[in-house]
Structure formats: structure tokens, C-alpha cells
Amino acid sequence: MQRTRKELFPGVFLTCLRTDKFRTGLLSLHLVTQLTAGTASQNALIPSVLRRGTVSAPDMAALAARLDGLYGARIEPSVRKLGELQCVGFTADFVEVLGQDQLGAVASLLGEMLLAPNTRGGLLLPGYVEGEKQKLIEDIRARMNDRAEYAQLRLVELMCPGEDYAVDALGTEEEARSVGYVALTRHYRALLASAPIEIFYCGAADPAAVASAMTDALAALPRGELDGDIGTDIRMNTVEEAPRVFTEELDVGQGKLAVGYRLGEAMEEPDMAALRVMDALFGGVWPSKLTANVRERLSLCYYVYSELDLMKGIMTVSSGIDPADYEKALAEIGRQLQAVKDGDITEGEMNVARAAVSTRMLALTDDAAALEKFWLGQDLLGLDYGPEELAALAEDVTAADVAKAAAGVACDAVYFLHGGEEEDAED
């Protein structure tokens, strides 16, 4: 798999992974901007509104007909949070085995969606903006339906007050509600001119052909002064000395526990491989210290896992437990983290964690969508090593490296979502 990277226009980068392995090609384009309260919902709304219709395919029916004709090619709105960056745009995938130039057609339609939406008097259509605004509000409100994810979301909001990281990728309901079509058009045009753009392609086409297709598709892209002042602030220490504890109630039987940590000194010169192995060993894979103890030994939960955000320097633990076991589960999670810090790690545990990280990285090379996410992260961090290199680095991580990576990890906040006191049984 050969990787190339090229600047097509000022601040517009194309990353290509050429491979004959897949039957489908993947193409994505993201505008990269700072994730901040006040603009997050507007940014999140842009791709959905653009996806409603273009100059040549003015409504969803026309767009759908065009995509169906390309063997069911998909171009979907994409809104992501990476550290304190918000990436908004589109991801497309399309069949490549049929020997037709799907890439050209998809690239051209994607470019049209981005640059030539269906407008009236130069403004985005009010009906489209209103419709998508309602749907964004529905999506934001529906966050609570996935109880575990909602607990994570609330944890981050409450743990990081005053940091951009507290902002959800979709923004807030209030912000979404205040968006109007005139202001959104203005915001969209400003973003087009100023945001760095990351394009990613993975498939069988020659990188030069991809560059040419995307250069044509984006020929009308306005470029002004680029927003160079974007990035993620890494907070090294906890907000208060002792972890802050937040509890909220929702009508649920099972309690959702979410624990947030700052990675601390390990983020000064982050050893990405050691951090990933540390996370795997603690709770990032199956089995881990958390699954072996919280689930298997104490039977406290069905799921428990840890997750890293290496851009922001945060680790979280998530578990679903019987509310009566809250203290027990929290104490056990703390004990297991302490064990990692103390280097109380068996050779067997190290082998599992190293092998898991390595396998995860190697398996990623068989998954175009996972490669796209991986490389967007690497490109934004300015790192140019790939999954194979990370797999090899993971194999060399020692227990001492893991303990060192965990040394500065400090619990900053605990969030618990539960059903409250004995529910009144009327239903």
C-alpha cells in the first residue's frame, strides 16, 4: 500500500493510499476548523444542508438517482470531533471492480455538493436549512437514547469546563435553534475560504488520477486567508485536586459509569505506542485488567472498557453496572489503574496488550474506512508513520514503558447516570 500526500491548492491536502485489495474506493473531504461553542452546530449543519441538492441535482431525489446509477455509490455528510478540532465534510464510497470511471463521477459530484449547492439569490435554500436544522436538533436530543454514549458525553462536558473539548461535535440544541439561512450561508462561504481541507482517497486509482479528478472538482474553490490558529490544548493536570463527582438521573435500571482521566506528563513527548499498549493493558481490549477484574472476577458488569484520546491527552473508562455496585466498581477501577502505575503487570498481560495493539493496527490496513480515520488523525497531528510502523513499535513496548506512560494519569472526574431512588412503579 503506497501512501502519497500532495497539496492541491493552498491548504488543501490530498492523501492517497493506492491498493488493489479492495472492491470499493473510498474518498473523503473534510474542512478542518476549531471546535468551539457558538460555531459547532453551524459547522455540523453545513454538510447536511449541502447534501440536500446541488445545481445539477437540485433535490434529494435527483441526487439519489445519480448515486443509484453509479452502482449505489454513497456520499454521506461527515461531522467529527478530533481533539478540539471539528472536521465537517463528506465521505464517499463506490464500487471500483466494474472497470468504469466511478472515481471521476463521484469526485465531480462531491465537488459540486461542496461548492455548488442549490441556492436562491446566492443563499442556501431556507427550506433545506430549516429541515436539516430540525434534524440536527433531533440528533442532539437523541444523544440520550444511547445511554452509555450519553454518559461519556456528559462526563466530557462536565469534566472540561472552559475547554473546547467540552463541546460536542453537533453543538447544542440552543445553538442549532438559532441558526438562520442567511447567517449559515455567510458562515459556509467564510469556512470554504479559510478552513484547511483534508482529502483522503483509498483504492485502486493512480494518485495522479485522483489529484487530477479532485483538482478539477475543486477548481471553483475560493481560497482566502487560511485559519492557521487551530489546534488542541492539552491540559496536563486535573481541574481540582480530588476527582469531581457528578451524578444525574434518567429512567434507567442499569447505572452507567464514566470516569475521566488526564494523561498528564506522558503527553509532554507522547510515546504513542506505549500509551496505546498501556490503554490496552488497562481496559482497551479484551481481556484487560478491567475485564478480568471488574467483569470476570467480581461479576459487576457486562461491559467495561477504557478509551484514549491521544490528541487531547484524555482517557475514559465506561461501564454498565447495578447502581448498588457503584462504590465497588469505582474502587476496583481505581485499584487496577494503580496496579498499572505500580508496574504490577505480568508477562502474560504484557503479551496480550502488545499483541492486541499490533493486531489492531495490522487489521486496520484491510479496512479503508478505518485507514481513513487513522490517517486523518495522523495528518492533523503531523505524524507520518503508518499502522505497520505502530504495530512494530507496540511489539517493543515493555512493562516499564507502560508504567511510565501511566505514571501521570490522574482521575479528573467521575460521572454516574442512574435511575434514582426506588422508582414509583406506575407505568
Binding site: T24, M60, G72, Q134, K135, E138, T359, A363, D366
Partner: protein, 421 residues
């Protein structure tokens, strides 16, 4: 092994039927790092009553899933540890129709395959370990009950099938799993985990002959008798009940509508029937369908809307799930789409798009191996889609829609936000 080439798809599948009755399918994928193997038994949550060697068994809801959890226990500890020590990840799931054990690895494939075949064919349960699992599964059930979409889906199945075997969760309930013992699990394992009731499907850069050889070495050589299943009386085409509403902490009303389909049959006709259904549903309600676009624009559906046809216990049903301010109105409009005439150009585009989706599936090893297993149990070649699809005419789809998409076969479960009441 017999090799079947699919030149139009750029791939091949090697297959063998072993003397013990096990079927093996291997899709060699040169150049891929990842290998996936799925060892699947034709035994799921719906197979609760059966007889074997003249003895009748009536097992509680949730047994197949409970057994799945306990299969990983081995005299040496957990089979999980063997996989994870090699960097492989193993898992399993239980549906109404099947239980699938699978692993993904990027190295030491043959050792992992041995471990998979060994642990799934070794019943090792003690009263203590079986009792201990109840806490974990209890939390899994609690989690499902708190998940509004899942809760809504389960209520829809209950509306369609009532007390029938498809009317309750594969996980069972806290009460139904309370009495499961090591003996129950042993009886079910003996009945349904014989190689003749199973299939092994592999995708990756592997040697198909080695897969066959290892299966012959590890698994019992004799062909064991298969159990007789009893799914109870034919659930018919009318739902047991048609409406249910409940309230939960949700932001907007969620719905799950169900439509009963009856049997899709087996053999090549079974594939045609399934494909006809898939194409019909795409034409009716897909992202390009006028009915969907209309409801989307009216704000009565958003892109959480999804639908699928599922088949188990000799019957099938469709579920349509989503979020809507007015689920009744949305369902009425979705059902009314059945009366529209089909535009031929639209029909051809849907066929093309369905074909594109099929090709996409081939690169997803999870989907590919599970699809091979499903085809095996239903007696058709699931990679024969291009030819089978080619033969489906607009009139076939129209006829299918007129027969199946009728209000009398539909039920609707709704979860409303609390303040609504």
C-alpha cells in the same frame, strides 16, 4: 475441496463436506492481512423445544445465549486467553436462528482455528461457573431493557409473535435464565453442536486445504443424529396484537413496525425470494424511494430510519425502525407506498445499487463469512446474487409487494417521551 470461481466478482470459494457432516467454506483473499473464521451452529434463541434420541426437551428462553457465554470456559481456563495471547480477538453472538463463534487475527491463523474448533466442541460447565455467569448476563439484559430502540424492537416482536418462540428476547429474562443449570446447557450442546448441524466459514489469505485438514483433526469423526425441532404452531400471517405504546426517557418518539412475511423457502428459490424482498423494500422505502423522501421532507422521518427482512424458525418478518413525531402517520404512508406503480428506470437503478451493495459486502469479512453461513443453512449459494438478481423483473417485485405489504400483517410498537403522556 471443491473450488467455485466467481469471475465477475474476482474471487473464489473452496468448499467441502466432511464425513462428520460439517460443511466448510473458505474464501481465499490473497494480500489481506486479516483472517476471519466463523464456526456457526444452526441453533438460536428460537430453538427452545426439541427432541433427541426420543427424549423431549423444553428449555427456557435465553438458553442458546447463555450457552454461548459459557462455551468459552475450558478446563485450562478461558479460550479467550489463548486467542488474546496470540493477538487474536474472539467473540460470539446469538440470534434467533444461529449462534456464531468467530475470531479475527493477523497471524498464527492455524493455531487460532484449532482453538476455535476445540472450545466450541468441548462442553465444560460446572454448577459454580454457570451460576456465576448469571450476574453478567443479568447486566446484559438490564442494559438491553434500558436501550429504547432495542426495547421498542423487542416489543414489536412480541406484537408479531405473542408467546411464540420469536416473541421474546434471545437473551431471555432475569426470570427465565434463573433456572438454567449445567445440565440444561449440556443437553443443548449435545443436540445442536454436532458438526452436522454446523458450518465453518473462513475468509483471508489462508490455505483452504489446511482449514479442511484441521477441522478433520480436531472435530469428532462420527456423524451424530440431529435433533427434531419444534417451533410450536405456525404463527400465521397476522400479528398476535397490532399496537403497543410505552414511555421511556427518550427525546422523541421511537417506533418499530413489523410486517409478517411467512417462509422465504430454501434452495435457489430461497435466494430469489430473499433478493426479491430486499429489492422490493429498497424500491418502497430506500433512501431514493419517493415515500421515504416525502416523509423526510415533511419531517416525519429522519436518517435514523432503517428496515430489514429477517428469517428464523421457518418464517420471516420485516422490521422498520426510526424516530418520528407521528409514528402512525409515518407507518400509514410507508404502507401506502405499496400501492404506487413502479417506474421502470427507477427499478433498474435500484437493482444496480443493490448489486453495488453486494459487491461492497465482499470486502467485509464479518458480513462475508456470516452470509456464507446463512446461505449454507438455507441451502443456496449466497454469492450467486448477480445471476439471481438479473432474473428478477419489475413484475416480480410488484407482485411480491402486493402480496406481502398489507396493513393486516403489520404491527406497531412505539416508545414515547415521558412528558407526552
Amino acid at each position: 475441496m471443491q473450488r467455485i470461481d466467481y469471475p465477475g466478482l474476482g474471487m473464489a470459494v473452496c468448499t467441502a463436506a466432511l464425513p462428520n457432516g460439517l460443511a466448510v467454506y473458505v474464501a481465499p483473499r490473497p494480500g489481506w492481512r486479516k483472517c476471519r473464521a466463523a464456526f456457526v451452529t444452526n441453533y438460536g434463541g428460537a430453538d427452545r423445544r426439541f427432541s433427541l434420541d426420543g427424549e423431549a426437551h423444553d428449555t427456557p428462553a435465553g438458553v442458546a445465549h447463555y450457552l454461548e457465554h459459557k462455551m468459552f470456559d475450558m478446563p485450562y481456563g478461558s479460550a479467550d486467553d489463548q486467542f488474546s495471547a496470540r493477538g487474536a480477538s474472539a467473540n460470539a453472538y446469538t440470534s434467533e436462528a444461529v449462534t456464531s463463534y468467530h475470531f479475527t487475527c493477523t497471524g498464527r491463523f492455524e493455531e487460532n482455528l484449532r482453538t476455535l474448533l476445540q472450545f466450541v466442541s468441548t462442553p465444560y460447565f460446572t454448577p459454580e461457573t454457570v451460576a456465576k455467569e448469571r450476574g453478567i448476563i443479568g447486566q446484559e439484559i438490564a442494559e438491553d431493557e434500558d436501550d429504547p430502540s432495542w426495547a421498542c424492537y423487542l416489543r414489536c416482536l412480541r406484537l408479531l409473535y405473542g408467546d411464540g418462540v420469536l416473541g421474546s428476547s434471545v437473551l431471555g429474562t432475569a426470570a427465565s435464565i434463573a433456572d438454567i443449570t449445567d445440565k440444561t446447557l449440556c443437553a443443548c450442546h449435545k443436540a445442536f453442536y454436532a458438526p452436522a448441524n454446523m458450518v465453518l466459514c473462513v475468509a483471508g489469505d489462508v490455505d483452504p486445504e489446511a482449514v479442511e485438514r484441521i477441522a478433520l483433526e480436531v472435530l469428532p469423526g462420527a456423524k451424530a443424529p440431529l435433533p427434531e425441532r419444534d417451533w410450536g404452531q405456525d404463527p400465521g400471517l397476522e400479528p398476535a396484537e397490532t399496537r403497543e405504546e410505552r414511555t421511556m426517557d427518550v427525546a422523541a418518539p421511537l417506533f418499530c413496525a413489523g410486517i409478517k412475511l411467512g417462509s422465504a423457502g430454501t434452495g435457489p428459490d430461497g435466494l430469489t425470494a430473499r433478493l426479491t424482498a430486499e429489492l422490493a423494500l429498497r424500491c418502497l422505502w430506500g433512501r431514493s424511494a419517493p415515500a421515504y423522501l416525502d416523509l423526510y421532507e415533511k419531517g416525519l422521518l429522519n436518517d435514523s430510519f432503517r428496515f430489514e427482512a429477517a428469517y428464523a424458525a421457518g418464517v420471516g418478518h420485516i422490521t422498520l425502525e426510526g424516530e418520528s413525531a407521528d409514528p402512525e402517520a409515518a407507518l400509514a404512508a410507508l404502507l401506502a407506498a405499496a400501492e404506487r406503480d413502479m417506474d421502470p428506470a427507477f427499478f433498474q437503478r435500484q437493482k444496480k445499487a443493490l448489486y453495488g451493495g453486494f459487491v461492497r459486502m465482499l470486502d467485509d469479512f464479518f458480513e462475508l463469512t456470516e452470509t456464507l453461513a446463512e446461505g449454507h443453512f438455507a441451502g443456496f449459494d449466497p454469492l450467486d446474487v448477480p445471476a439471481a438478481l438479473d432474473k428478477i423483473a419489475p413484475a416480480d417485485v410488484t407482485a411480491w409487494v402486493r402480496e406481502h405489504i398489507v396493513p393486516a400483517r403489520a404491527a406497531l410498537a412505539v416508545v414515547r417521551p415521558k412528558e407526552d403522556k
